[in-house]
Amino acid sequence: MGGAWEWAVGVLDWGVANWSYPGEPDRGILPRLTEHMRLAYLSILIGLAVAVPLGLACVRWKALYPPVLTGVNVLYAVPSIALFFLMLPYTGFSDWTAVVPLALYTLVILLPNVVDGLRQVPEHVRQAAVAMGFSPLRRLVFVEMPVAVPVVIAGLRVASVATISMVSVASLVGLGGLGQLILSEGFRRQFDAPIVVGVLLTVLLAFVTDALLVLAQRGLTPWARRDDRRSGRGRRAVARASAGAAARAGSGTPAGERTTPGERQPWTS
């Protein structure tokens, strides 16, 4: 017991002593943490920026979805290390070497959620929007996209946790934020304090990011807090989408094409 306590105090001491070095902005734990956040958040944002238009296209042109989803799944099956090294000749040791593969990986979760989110807009809601006189574009922006938000955020939660965890692997190509603590300082020097600090901060970052997304969802979609008997298909779709995404993110195996409920004709007049 005493040994464990001393060990924990030792780790903490190391963490405090190496938090940052005045005058040396690239040394210490803090720069690794900010780098980690930069790489992870940039990848997620780029992933989202690609997934939304791609998802819209897949809903609009149904035939597009199966091949695109297969492509995204196959890409996910490529080991991340290989992809980082493949990027090196083109992007060197810049952030993009990590960000491009990580952003591509988020698509495996975000794309199906964008598509499912748009598809789960109930048909009677869509019909009502047409009958009220919404033009196709207005219907998309003011009805279908807002209704899809909870499912998209559910996907973002899974994607951000997965990405934050995966950034560490990029330390093999000299990036990787907190991963560098684990790899360079920890394993190479046979020293456990940086490993423990690196892991704890990664977990903490994932936890805080997830909490922020939950808060964002509450703020953005107050209507989605289904607290009564009519807990309709919205929540089920969210649960289904995030469960499916989590299963894939966890196992790392690409899922086959998913069956989607109902034949719908999205925003065609």
């Binding site: 009677h124 009502a128 006189g133 009805v143 007049s269």
Partner: protein
């Protein structure tokens, strides 16, 4: 006025949804499209706001072919109520109702004021303005749906099976509400249902569609029940159409008998003498305010202890009553059938007994309206 001129909808796979429809919907009236599924009634309704484009013929509103109008713009001038309300789940009740005014470019405060006005019109509490659709009951959602359709005060209202997803009690109250609204607003309403009772209740005119998208009969509800044109219409309006037709005849013409109505203080012997004298098997007992208490059988009166008052006897329940001023012959018949005495108790609007209708008198009245 909405005119269908040979309107048809033929799908590429050969399915005929609507076949050569000629029909005129009168302004300010409620016209009901009724028929089994696959009879083209909803398709015909949706031709009016161009949610379905006819493959043949034309649809005209006030003489103008609607193909000349921009679809989105046309739809903003036509209210639409859909089966499951179709409310936008991410918008509050108030913003749902304000949808079309906002699309028309009203400013926010005017649109919201209009929404509040409509909530009152359709019987929603102001406190529900900030709620989301999923927090409302099915009936309330449908009220919001009606309010939303009326928001921009469109002259035409299309209603596509609006009340079929709610339970019968709520449905009846929504139907009453619609009748009340229509009495004030005089919209041109086209209402689609598969329920002939709903059609008879709400429609000024009824169009019966048969499978294959053909119009079988277009008539007033009364004529439809009295003279269905063919075997299909007859079977669709139902075997009890004769009884249902009675709802078009007022009960006020029935002859009411007061001689078999007695106060609860009346001695049993007096009531027994009257019953025996007239050959009446039942007398109705009322209290001091003429509220009904129940039926007393004549043979029980004979066996009752001498000197007792009617109020001290065990009475058979009087069952349903009918309002002589407001109800129809159908309600009177219903009251008679459900009464243990086989007689209907007629009451005034306050519930006080106006008299009873015997089977003979009821039968005479029924025969007089039959054909």
């Amino acid at each position: 006025m909405i005119t269908f001129e040979g309107a048809a909808k033929l799908y590429p796979d050969g399915t005929v949804a609507v076949d050569d429809l000629d029909l005129t919907v009168e302004t300010g009236q409620t016209t009901v499209f009724v028929g089994p599924s696959g009879s083209g009634k909803t398709t015909s309704l949706r031709m009016i706001n161009r949610m379905v484009e006819p493959t043949g013929g034309a649809v005209l509103i006030d003489g103008d072919d609607i193909r000349g109008r921009d679809p989105a713009e046309l739809r903003r001038s036509i209210g639409y109520v859909i089966q499951q309300a179709g409310l936008f789940p991410h918008r509050t009740v108030r913003d749902n109702i304000a949808t079309v005014p906002l699309l028309l470019g009203w400013n926010r405060s005017r649109a919201r004021a209009r929404a509040d006005e409509l909530m009152e019109l359709v019987g929603l509490e102001p406190s529900q303005a900030g709620r989301y659709p999923h927090q409302l009951s099915g009936g309330q959602q449908q009220r919001v749906g009606v309010a939303r359709a009326l928001a921009a005060d469109p002259p035409i209202l299309l209603m596509d099976e609006p009340f079929s997803a709610v339970d019968p009690v709520v449905r009846a109250s929504l139907q009453d509400e619609l009748l009340r609204l229509q009495a004030d607003l005089h919209k041109t309403i086209v209402f689609v249902t598969h329920d002939i009772d709903e059609a008879v209740r709400l429609g000024d005119r009824i169009a019966v569609f048969r499978p294959g998208g053909r119009l079988a009969q277009y008539d007033t509800p009364e004529n439809l029940l009295a003279a269905p044109r063919d075997a299909f219409v007859e079977s669709f309006v139902g075997y009890d159409r004769g009884v249902r037709r009675l709802s078009f005849f007022p009960a006020r013409d029935l002859s009411l008998r007061e001689d078999v109505v007695f106060g609860d203080g009346t001695p049993v012997t007096e009531a027994a003498a009257v019953a025996r004298g007239k050959g009446e098997p039942w007398v109705l007992v009322v209290d001091g305010d003429r509220m009904p208490l129940g039926w007393a059988a004549a043979d029980r009166l004979d066996r009752a202890p001498a000197g007792a008052a009617l109020g001290s006897l065990d009475l058979a329940p009087y069952g349903h009553t009918f309002d002589v001023g407001a109800d129809s012959l159908r309600a009177a018949l219903d009251a008679a059938v459900l009464s243990p005495a086989g007689r209907a108790v007629g009451v005034d609007s306050e519930g006080r007994v106006a008299g009873v209708v015997t089977q003979d008198d009821l039968g005479t009245a029924l025969w007089s309206v039959a054909e």
